[in-house]
């Protein structure tokens, strides 16, 4: 493969530099990602945090080449993915896979779970159906789904189960890097915890590297080593999870942090008795009865 330099073990797996992604709409161009740089070590987990319009999803899509960067470089294990032509990209694609946000749209509805998980293997050339089936069963097992799941179709599964199938599918390509685009955001809180646990376990077991896109700081804290905070396409703050979440330096990051409501820690609130007294007074005053 051209422009591949010999890799050292301690070199980052992913090194993004000066990434710019522009869209054109009605003649105007709009910068979704504006000069973003970051790197992720092999086996690490970098969370990219931001609200809508921050560009985090665009970066995720650029990494798996669903969107083409306007400029900048995406060095993945020595190869610049940003400028790689399609033909040369294809053999490398399996090394970066994505887990999507919406469990209800991310699985082809007319395929069985087995077919969904086996497809990446077939694409990579595995012709033996029995081997594909065995590996699919293995992968589904690794995400906590029983063999009876193999023949079922997506609509027979719950949201959390569908996400697990999505994870199994991503793993079927034998990737080095998983891009998780709000992978737990659409799940119920109890299910989310289970899926996060699976993801944490798999990262260690399979030596994976994660890029975790999220707007949920609690989830970010649970799973990531480092955090990158984005706003309107620009990097606002970066650091370890500990640093950014416990002692954020930037005002925007503090605002994000402040807005994260954590039930277990919240104490006191606006005096409710005042509210109730006002209500009582108002009713006494107007003696309101609803007119038909």
């Amino acid at each position: 493969m051209s422009n591949e330099t010999p890799t050292r073990q301690d070199a980052p797996l992913l090194d993004v530099s000066g990434l710019v992604i522009e869209y054109r709409r009605d003649g105007e161009s709009f910068r979704a990602v504006d000069d973003v740089s970051f790197s992720v070590a092999r086996g690490g987990c970098l969370a990219v945090v931001g609200e809508s319009g921050s560009g985090k999803s665009t970066i995720a899509r650029a990494l798996v080449r669903l969107v083409k960067p306007t400029s900048g470089s995406i060095m993945f294990d020595g190869t610049d993915l940003a400028t790689l032509p399609e033909r040369q990209l294809r053999p490398v694609r399996h090394r970066i896979q994505m887990v999507f946000q919406d469990p209800y749209g991310s699985l082809d509805p007319h395929l069985t779970a087995e077919q969904v998980v086996a497809e990446p293997m077939a694409v990579r050339g595995e012709r033996d159906a029995a081997r594909r089936r065995a590996r699919a069963a293995e992968l589904l097992d690794s995400v906590g789904l029983p063999t009876s799941a193999l023949q079922r179709k997506p609509h027979e599964f719950s949201g959390g189960q569908r996400q697990r199938i999505g994870i199994a599918r991503a793993l079927a390509s034998d990737p080095d890097l998983l891009v998780l685009d709000e992978a737990t955001s659409a799940l119920d809180v109890s299910v989310q915890a289970a899926v996060l646990a699976i993801l944490a376990r798999l990262r260690v077991e399979q030596g994976l590297t994660y890029l975790f896109i999220s707007h949920n700081l609690g989830v970010v804290k649970a799973i990531s080593d480092d955090v990158l905070v984005l706003r309107a396409g620009k990097v606002v703050e970066r650091g370890t999870t500990e640093q950014v979440l416990s002692a954020p330096a930037e005002p925007y990051t503090r605002r994000l942090r402040r807005s994260a409501l954590e039930p277990g820690l919240m104490t006191g609130r606006k005096p409710r008795e005042v509210v109730r007294a006002i209500a009582a007074a108002r009713i006494a005053e107007h003696d309101e009865s609803v007119t038909a």
Binding site: L89, F100, G105, P109
Partner: protein, 304 residues
């Protein structure tokens, strides 16, 4: 996990749903309506289609050669259930054999228009850009042409053979499945499972064929089926105007056309009975197709 504990005194509350409410509920009504439609449609269509299919094996008099002594017999005459025409040809036999021609042309036309429509609609919807512009403008141009006049023109130019008529009807009908396919593909294209296939590196034609088309096919097939009624009507109109398959081969339109002048002198069966056959088939196909469309839509919604 664990079961929720209900207060023990308060076990299972009896249902407040009455049988009447259940019967008149939206879900039940819709299911009933689609079932009724499908059955009614199937019966109407079967009344016509089954005998037509069996025309070759039923003991029918020759549809082309008439018996001169039996001219213009009314229906229910001995040996001629539906009567005869001025040439002594049995009407039932002519209707059934003519139906074979009409159905053949109709089925071939919708298969062809379905294929063209799905392919054109898929590429237009998936690739977008100039492909979409090309297909969409062609579609719109086609739909703005007056159908029957166009058909007459082509037949006048190329002759009224079965092949030409089939082709012409197919070309007239492809916009409808194409438009629907394009719209459905546009929707599917945005779904993450398509993105997942792209991330795998699957080439676009494969994504369309393997992932998108199987998910939209049921809806498109129903629309293509509904086109059968239109195709048969078009063929009958053509033969009525004299541009269909030529005499002496019977066609529904042709029989009606021949019987037109005789209608006023009381020979009503030559016009009415083929007309009834056409009507039954068209109504049957429409009802059946409608019912199928409701079913398909509900299955899709339920599986979401």
């Amino acid at each position: 996990m664990t079961t929720t504990d209900l207060p023990t005194a308060d076990l299972v509350r009896p249902s407040a749903v009455t049988a009447r409410q259940l019967r008149t509920s939206g879900a039940a009504r819709r299911a009933r309506h689609s079932t009724i439609k499908m059955w009614a449609g199937a019966v109407c269509a079967a009344i016509v289609v089954l005998p037509v299919l069996l025309a070759g094996v039923l003991p029918l008099p020759d549809p082309v050669k008439g018996v001169l002594k039996d001219t213009s017999l009314p229906p229910l005459s001995p040996g001629h259930l539906l009567g005869t025409d001025p040439n002594g040809r049995d009407l039932l036999s002519r209707i059934l054999h003519g139906g074979q021609t009409s159905l053949l042309i109709g089925v071939l036309a919708i298969v062809l228009s379905g294929l063209i429509g799905v392919v054109a609609g898929s590429v237009a919807g998936y690739y977008g850009g100039w492909v979409d512009v090309l297909v969409s403008r062609a579609l719109e141009a086609q739909m703005s042409l007056p159908l029957l006049l166009m058909l007459l023109l082509v037949v006048a130019l190329f002759g009224p053979s079965i092949a030409v008529i089939t082709l012409v009807i197919a070309v007239a009908q492809w916009p409808e499945p194409a438009r629907l396919t394009r719209a459905l593909v546009l929707v599917e294209r945005e779904k993450p499972y398509v993105a997942a296939a792209q991330v795998l590196g699957l080439r676009r034609p494969l994504i369309i064929l393997r992932h998108i088309i199987p998910n939209i096919l049921p809806q498109v097939l129903v629309v293509v089926f509904l086109l059968l009624a239109q195709a048969v009507l078009l063929e009958s109109s053509l033969s009525f105007l004299g541009a269909g398959v030529q005499r002496p081969y019977p066609t529904w339109g042709g029989i009606i056309s021949d019987g037109r002048e005789l209608f006023v002198i009381g020979t009503w069966w030559l016009v009415t009975l083929p007309g009834v056959a056409i009507a039954l088939l068209v109504v049957g196909v429409n009802l059946l197709g409608d019912g199928l469309r409701d079913r398909v839509r509900r299955t899709k919604a339920g599986a979401a």
